[in-house]
Symmetry: C2
Subunit: 341 residues, 2 copies
């Protein structure tokens, strides 16, 4: 008998933030491999804010997941069978393998090889996955921070934000953050090297932000949009850069919500507001991962993984990150027994 491939598929598109009601189990047998394919046995599944956009009907940067289709997700797994010349049995890969046990993958689904020498394979999904690589590239190439400038990060303690904060500090910036709990504020300062952080749930009054960034903001690394962005924009300094890396605070974009009009600030302060999508930069992964790995091995780059066990937990974990309940990069381990490697 063929082994079962447990799969979580999209049942109903969400209104607002997704949760268990939007998904269902739909197990199948493990697929046979066509020529050029290889079978990936997933070990870790990724839970990402961007998944909300991938199952919405509105305009996005990728086609939405079909109803009944396996939930699109990044994952780290090991090749257990191969009819590909490129990927061999025993290699760990990071790619678009979905919320399921097994993926009959083609080369285009792979983002990068995971090098066990660089750390536990879960790091391939976290620090060395889109979180860490996004943080590095979006900050350095769009934000272009210079020593002495103020960098403000929304979701400062998150998977991307926590890395942004540490790199900005390393570059000699004054680094301040916004996050969703007093506990995360402490974590930002104690672990991620922020000079100061603020719990936005306690209020976004002008005076509180003024105290957080008395020199204004030169780089706003925005993962949230929404009221947080509206509160930060008035603090942008001349020639400031706003890096749009996510919009986690806004649940729906159809119809478009309103916001304070930005054009006058963009003009008079010569701001640059630019969007970043990591999937434009896949060719950069190996070099950026190598840099992050050096810092990580020196102990100069802290990264938190928030790992839950069990495939069936994925939908609830996705809902939880929109409530801010994760403590670092959320991922689901779906292999039994000991932690891989």
């Amino acid at each position: 008998m063929m082994p079962v491939n447990r799969r979580i598929v999209l049942a109903v598109r969400p209104e607002g933030s997704p949760g268990p009601v939007n998904f269902r189990r739909d197990d199948q047998t493990v697929p046979a491999l066509a020529d050029g394919q290889f079978l990936v046995r997933n070990h870790y599944l990724s839970i990402d804010p961007a998944q909300r956009g991938w199952i919405a009907t509105g305009a996005n940067y990728a086609d939405p997941v079909a109803i009944g289709g396996v939930m699109r997700a990044l994952a780290v797994g090991i090749v257990t069978a191969s009819r590909s010349a490129r990927y061999a049995v025993g290699e760990y890969l990071y790619g678009w393998f979905g919320w399921q046990d097994y993926c009959a993958a083609v080369e285009q689904l792979v983002i990068s090889r995971v090098q066990p020498a660089q750390g536990p394979v879960s790091t391939g999904l976290g620090l060395f996955g889109i979180s860490g690589v996004s943080a590095y590239l979006a900050l350095t190439e769009l934000g272009r921070p210079r020593a002495g400038e103020t960098v403000l990060v929304s979701t400062a303690a998150g998977a991307v934000g926590s890395v942004v904060g540490q790199i900005a500090r390393r570059l000699g910036c004054r680094v301040v953050g916004l996050c969703g709990s007093d506990e995360k504020v402490q974590q930002c300062v104690a672990e991620f090297g922020y000079h100061a952080a603020l719990n936005y749930r306690a209020g976004l009054e002008h005076e509180r932000l003024q105290a957080l960034c008395p020199q204004g903001v030169d780089v706003f690394f925005d993962n949230t949009s929404g009221e947080i962005a509206d509160a930060v924009w008035p603090f942008m300094n001349l020639r400031g850069r706003i890096v749009q890396c996510g919009t986690a605070a806004v649940a729906g974009w159809d119809p478009l919500p309103t916001a304070p009009r930005r054009e006058r600030a963009v003009l008079t302060r010569r701001l640059r507001h630019e969007g970043f999508i990591i999937f434009d930069h896949l060719e950069r992964f190996p070099a950026v991962i190598a840099q992050l790995a050096r810092w990580h091995q020196e102990g100069a780059l802290v990264f938190h993984e928030d790992v839950e066990q069990g495939l069936e937990r994925a939908p609830a974990a996705l809902a939880a990150i929109f409530r801010g309940e994760n403590r670092g990069k959320k991922m689901i381990r779906i292999t039994d027994g000991e932690r891989a490697l």
Copy 2:
């Protein structure tokens, strides 16, 4: 007896767009020169949309004109006396000489020398002034259009927009424009080389814009903000650039008006929205003017000057440009008799 220096000073800050009620005459004698100063006898005064911002109280890129102070304005004039080693009697200069007959100027007020060999001195205020140089720099350096891309210009027939359109066409782009009358639509196509243009006063429905730019918009050269911008943003293509060069369609910014929230479009389409202020680029004027002058002498660059005679016309002329009544770059000639040079 000292000759009279006729001056137009700010009387009352405007609510919305300015007009005659905001100014008054306040003549003085021509000032004596301190060491390092030189006396400029103005020939042409500039009327610019940006002047509204210079007399508003809200945040801007320059301190507001004081009540009772000479209205800040660019002008072209001739040096009639000099205690400066840099500027000699008989030279034509372009600079911040104000709505008045004479300015006791210092070197910092000069933007560029006007070369009579390049054209009538009025061109120093128009094609070779901030209009033409802004068009060139903002389009090429922020917009970075590539052949085959679609460039959309708001205020397409205006002093800046008409030059943007012609340069974009020269660069091999598909060039489309929005302007405020059917007459200007004709002018855009017949004189400025636009492939198509639209009268926005006849409606900004999605279908009309769709017909104007069926391939979407790669570079949006925005001089207006407001409803025009809101109608154009949904057409921005992947990696599109929005160049914010003015906000002429919005009269007041305090409190901030609202607009459709932009962050999701910026993120998912990797847009870049950037502000341009010509006064950051003063060192570029000579080289850009030389390029514009070459094209102009080849007959490949049309520029319309809308000249009125008489200092006292300046306030009404400023009001008129916000009603879209000008036919090209608005300027006031204040010397009597024949046109200078």
